[in-house]
């Protein structure tokens, strides 16, 4: 059973890698295509924000930006690529579709691997870092597929590239560096609060990965839009791959909506961790390095939500805050577990 789980994990790894390549090919094939209206508006908005900074009050009402409702509409839009542009870049679109199919296959293999690993170990498969990271890959990619299925904004599929890059890295680190044989966990890790805690941490972390990926693309797209607004007539720029990425408001919405799903779960996970700490170590909070960095990332996500409600911090700045929040989670997972050791000894890594 354990051997089968490892095989399935390798299949998942391969699936993710192939999907990543396919997403990459689709993105590359976008060069030379004309942006949609919303995508153009995205660039225009950055431009106007700059020009309008001086006289924003006066021009505020005449600017033709877009509303949240527009963004909702865009998120509901059917991806027009498959119809309108199929003629222009049929192979690129085909790779994009293939990427989604391979992603699904990869996620199924990943699921199989996680389930059989749990059966082999006779417990929830979240007892060491290998299993934890495997679960994160599974849940992140699942979350990505849900986002993709629920929102049909043009170009959204290309966000897949940015989701799969970290997933593939994580999967390879898990498969090569973190792997340990399936086995029981030490008694100190065997508490139901611990299982609740670890499950919710991995689930919320996975959704936050998708959120962070959207924000990374937001930052990149913002950079492109700014360049474009400086050189609006540059043909190569206007039709570069970036012009076909999802628009800024779409990315912002996706990042926000995933974050507000994940944030309460993450909050719950930290509370469950505190309950476990009370049961295991006699205090609910002790500023152990792991707890401290979890607190730091929580504060960053609280900051993200605040930033989105604070003028001057919306958009680019809040995207950065979201990215830093996720970086703190990754830091906690790898650096704190493996380098700074606290009470949170995770079975199986040195």
């Amino acid at each position: 059973m354990a051997g089968f789980s490892d095989l399935a994990f390798q299949a998942a790894m391969a699936g993710y890698l192939i999907a990543l390549i396919c997403y990459g090919i689709e993105v590359a094939s976008r060069r030379g295509l004309v942006p949609t209206a919303m995508e153009a508006a995205s660039a225009q908005r950055v431009h106007l924000a700059k020009v309008g900074a001086a006289g924003s009050r006066a021009t505020g009402s005449t600017v033709t930006g877009y509303t949240d409702a527009d963004v909702d509409d865009e998120l509901d839009d059917d991806d027009d690529d498959d119809d309108d542009r199929a003629a222009l870049a049929p192979w690129g679109v085909r790779f994009g579709r293939a990427a989604v199919v391979v992603t699904v296959i990869g996620v199924l293999a990943n699921l199989l691997s996680v389930v059989t690993r749990g059966i082999a170990a006779g417990r929830l498969p979240l007892g060491n870092m290998y299993e934890f990271v495997s679960m994160i890959c599974l849940a992140s990619v699942t979350c990505w597929l849900v986002v993709l299925a629920k929102n049909r904004a043009p170009g959204l599929r290309q966000l897949g590239l940015f989701v799969l890059i970290p997933v593939v890295i994580l999967a390879f680190v898990a498969g090569t560096k973190l792997w340990i044989p399936a086995g029981p966990v030490p008694p100190s890790l065997n508490s139901y609060w611990k299982w609740i805690h670890v499950t919710t941490v991995s689930l919320s972390g996975s959704v936050l990965l998708v959120s962070g990926a959207a924000s990374v693309l937001y930052v990149l797209r913002h950079r492109f839009d700014r360049k474009l607004s400086e050189m609006p007539d540059d043909e190569a720029l206007a039709t570069s791959v970036w012009s076909r990425m999802p628009s800024l408001p779409t990315l912002d919405k996706i990042a926000y909506r995933t974050a507000i799903v994940a944030f309460p779960v993450y909050t719950f996970a930290i509370i469950a961790g505190a309950l476990w700490a009370e049961v295991a170590w006699g205090r609910y909070w002790g500023w152990d390095p792991k707890e401290t960095v979890a607190f730091v990332s929580w504060v960053f996500y609280a900051g993200y939500l605040h930033a989105r409600a604070t003028s001057g911090w919306r958009g680019l700045r809040s995207a950065w805050i979201n990215i830093i929040g996720f970086a703190a989670i990754v830091f906690n997972l790898f650096f704190v577990n493996m380098v700074v050791s606290g009470l949170h000894s995770y079975a199986g890594v040195g």
Partner: protein
Amino acid sequence: MSATDTTTVPSGGQVPPARRRVRPAIAFLRNTWRGLTSMRTALILLFLLALASLPGALLPQWSLNESKTSDYIAAHPFWGPLMNRLGFFEVFASPWYSAIYLLLFISLVGCLLPRTFEFARQIGARPVSTPRNLARMPLHAEYTVDGTAEQAADRAEATLRRKHWRVSRRTESGGVHTLSAEKGYLREVGNLVFHFSLLALLIAVAIGKLFGYEGSVIVQVGDPWCSSSTSSYDNFRPGLTVDGTDMTPFCLQIKDFQATWSPSGQALSFHTDVNYQAAAEAGGDSWHSARVQVNDPLRMAGERLYLLGHGYAPDVKVTFPNGDVRNYSTPFISNDPMLLSTGAIKVPDPPGVPADQLTQHQLAIAGLFAPTAAEHGGIMTSVYPAADKPGLAVDIYRGDLGMEGGRPQSVYAISQDQVDKGALVKLDRVNLYVGDSTTLDDGTVITFTGYHEWVSLQTSYDPGQTLALIAAILLLAGLMASLTIKRRRLWFRLLPPEAGSGAGDELRRTVVRVGGLARTDQAGYGAEFDEVSRWADDGTGSDTGTDEGTATADGTTGTTGSNTGTDGTAAERE
């Protein structure tokens, strides 16, 4: 903040000098207060808090690991002491850390109080009247229905009320009826609950820091132990107001310790069975029995008792040259999976030695205990954590243990300084199994007779803990309410046939104009709006408008959100 706040003093000399100084001072205070309670300041303080927490994770901390911290300071002769003075090794008790979170919480209070009053006011108030131009709302629709405007308004109002919207009906000139409705007040309740819970959590933590304590102790299986004072513990960490005078003296008898291991030596479970007497019964004859396990503490009235670890204490019999026999059983500690343990048995007062010669004749037996011993070339290791074949691999020293000097030394090791100085001389290195003995040059016989097990226990007391749990639950509930519930507004304007314009006229039907606005994130209101906007419809309606969004220029362009955070959304701008 408008500029008039700061330019308070009119030009000219009419203002008395004293007031001239006072008014800017007040203005300064007021501006400081406003600045402090603005959301932007809260945001910056949040990031400062995160930043300031990081050294607590990356640098060793006194409260977590004293030896690591002092090693670190010793290894960095310049930076170490400086950072120590600045509180970098005690981050969460440092003045700068406290300053940040206190400022943050002042900011929080300053922001919450007005928001609470504002919300209380809104609860009592009618939903805001219908804006003139509903077509400018982010969501809007227009259609016509049969019947009078009044009938349509009745219909919509009835449905709105049934669906728990708060509705206010008004009439405008020309027989125009309007309905303004609002829903989702719980969002604001959730938000306030969330933020107040943060305050409650801080208070709970403070209570724990003031009145709580933690003590840890190693007790041998079979021994009794009472928590009569702070000195009953090996290690005691009191809260700021705890001096140990009024501790509740509970007592324990450690009946046994059980561990199970997998064949490969991986630990599967630990537990210890104890008899205990809570404070009120201390000294009496009634004992309760309980099982304490890892992840399952014993909860008494106030204190909690935890099983943190366990280990072995080798039993050693020492027969001194003068014929005296003493038995020693000293805990050895381990962080090896197979429980290869290290420790030292110290004999500071060998019998039959004159007091002034004691420091030449003190004994130490220091080394390793292996529960299941195996030897490779004389080196003893442990191959299994259960005590199947106990072995003791020790060095035996005689001389001055160095215990009179001021510096406290570890009970698990001898002072290497004394060895280096030549004050403590190694006599022998032996590997012993149960029953084996070794004889020293002066005739002292050291016999390895067996082992005891010990458990390491921790007592915790935190009177703020329940409050912390309640605050955490409320925090989560408030957060979920504030993130899932949408505060949304809906307006109907029902124009009777005469007043209607455009499409409805020739059919002489009532024109229904609907506008909708979610006061925070618009996400998801669209679908609901499509439904609720039809509530004035009796089934005869036909669309004349669209529900496309219009230019409200949200986001970075041309708008500045409210600083106080009361309602920094598109809502109030239109």
